[in-house]
């Protein structure tokens, strides 16, 4: 079995090599662009691989995403249709995402955004604090990550609503579904967390209309994909004081261009796509298991349904 590694994180290539050779000694690893004979390659481990690359591998059977999302694969129009795409689901990354989500909720709930400004003014002033049990948090996307976030936020005493494309049922979470459930979901959410995959259906889902449904003075935390949000509508909602703040780990264009207005908006906090970082030390295991399943002709886990887009 020959596996190709094609990642934009070139600093991690040697670590992946060591881990893969140790975990799957029989497997030969090639590192893009040193592909060798293309027809040798049956599996590709990919993160933002160049479009067109995978189509040049005639014997390719599976692509393992090195990140949790697969939009970086599916937006390659030449992606061969017969190849299995596997998402990466690593409990360590789920844990990281939930940490970021909890941080975002507490940041706005406890007004650390305002206290930061007060500090710059040397101002010692207490603000009123709404009861945790009265601050509804909304989680959009109830997959592995969304469900873990919802549960952990709930356990701190926040009421939590969830929204997903297909009906879900989670203990203690008020679940909404589909287009028809979206307005009701948004209407009473004070802190909205985005944890959706980026697909044809979800691109731009947080537009002027959706933002308008959210209560006056609410907050947005996007730790999924920048493309979910119409950034001009977000800036407009912040400008009109309809939205009180946003914490964005992802933006439509990454890296965020130095002259982009999101960098300097006083009520926007930016982090550079770090909510869930792939750690090869923990990600190697689910990836190696999927390679073993493929070799044993067993179904791989977390295979992507291309129709739904994740």
């Amino acid at each position: 079995m020959v596996v190709l590694l094609a990642t934009s994180h070139t600093d991690e290539v040697e670590l992946w090599r060591r881990l893969l050779e140790k975990r799957l000694p029989g497997v030969e690893l090639r590192i893009y662009p040193a592909i060798g004979e293309p027809s040798d390659i049956e599996v590709a481990l990919a993160w933002k691989a160049p479009h067109g690359l995978l189509a040049t591998l005639p014997q390719l059977r599976m692509v393992c995403s090195l990140g949790m999302g697969v939009d970086h694969l599916l937006d390659d129009p030449t992606l061969p249709s017969g190849v299995v795409i596997a998402r990466l689901v690593d409990s360590n990354m789920v844990e990281q995402m939930s940490e970021y989500a909890l941080y975002g909720v507490l940041h706005f709930h406890r007004r650390f955004d305002v206290y930061e400004r007060f500090q710059s003014e040397h101002r010692w002033q207490e603000l009123p604090l709404p009861h945790t049990a009265a601050r509804r948090v909304g989680v959009m996307g109830l997959g592995e990550i969304g469900a873990d976030c919802a549960r952990k936020i709930r356990s701190l005493g926040f009421p939590v609503s969830g929204w997903s494309r297909t009906p879900k049922s989670l203990p203690g979470i008020q679940c909404h579904t589909g287009k028809e459930g979206l307005n009701a979901f948004l209407a009473d959410v004070e802190i909205l967390l985005l944890l959706l995959p980026l697909t044809e259906r979800t691109a731009g889902i947080i537009d002027a209309r959706a933002l308008g449904r959210m209560p006056h003075g609410s907050y947005l935390v996007n730790l999924a994909r920048g493309g979910l949000v119409v950034e001009s509508a977000l800036l407009d909602a912040l400008e009109r004081d309809h939205l009180a703040g946003a914490l964005l780990d992802v933006t439509a264009v990454e890296p965020l261009p130095p002259d982009h207005p999101l960098w300097t908006h006083p009520r926007v906090k930016i982090t550079p796509h770090i909510a869930g970082l792939t750690n090869p030390l923990t990600a190697i295991e689910p990836i190696a298991r999927n390679i073993e399943r493929l070799m044993a002709k067993q179904p791989v886990t977390h295979a992507v349904d291309r129709e739904r887009g994740y």
Copy 2:
């Protein structure tokens, strides 16, 4: 029964009156400074009452603190010795304190302090992220609040150590005790949370020596009392890069004077004593129950041991 309310939060006086009259209809409430006949008063509800006031009430039997700490009462040298002092333990405030503690841990663990600086430089740069399971958090003080914080931080996957004056045992927490346990406790704690009461024994406990025991690059979160920390030693440890950052909700002098160097230190984050705010709506219940116990000649709960100071 006549109860005196003496609080520096004068904006909450009418709310306390409404709540107390509703919960304990037989009780007469007087609001400082309108004391009336001093010998009528058997109970005082106090937050930062003027020193000397309580000594003028000859029939005083109990003082209920309106905050979780009682250092604001015990530092009054005229405090009558025969009077019962009751701490306020309100599960809502415990929840608030744990929210703040979790926020502080995540703030430093996930490097939001550094990403804030990056944003000001329009810099999109990922930093390495240590595994949550490799980041030891230390909780000093394992009372109601410390125990709740330790449990919640542990549940996110952080290894947690605790330190307390008397031996404690908490599931999953490495517990250290007393002076002899302090050095070992501090030596492997990367994020230190202070949740101790301020007493003769704990004043200045975080001095140059204690800070020196903490690992290079560690963080301090103080959400208890400013007097626990020797601020000159803290500033020195930050200056020497021994400590990587501090989040302080409390300072030796409050409000923090406008020209104090803590306001402007680039690695210090300040909030104005808001980690746990007394909410009369929830605090009324434990206070009313203690008044009822006193009237029924039953022992009050959370009575202070003046010798130990809390």
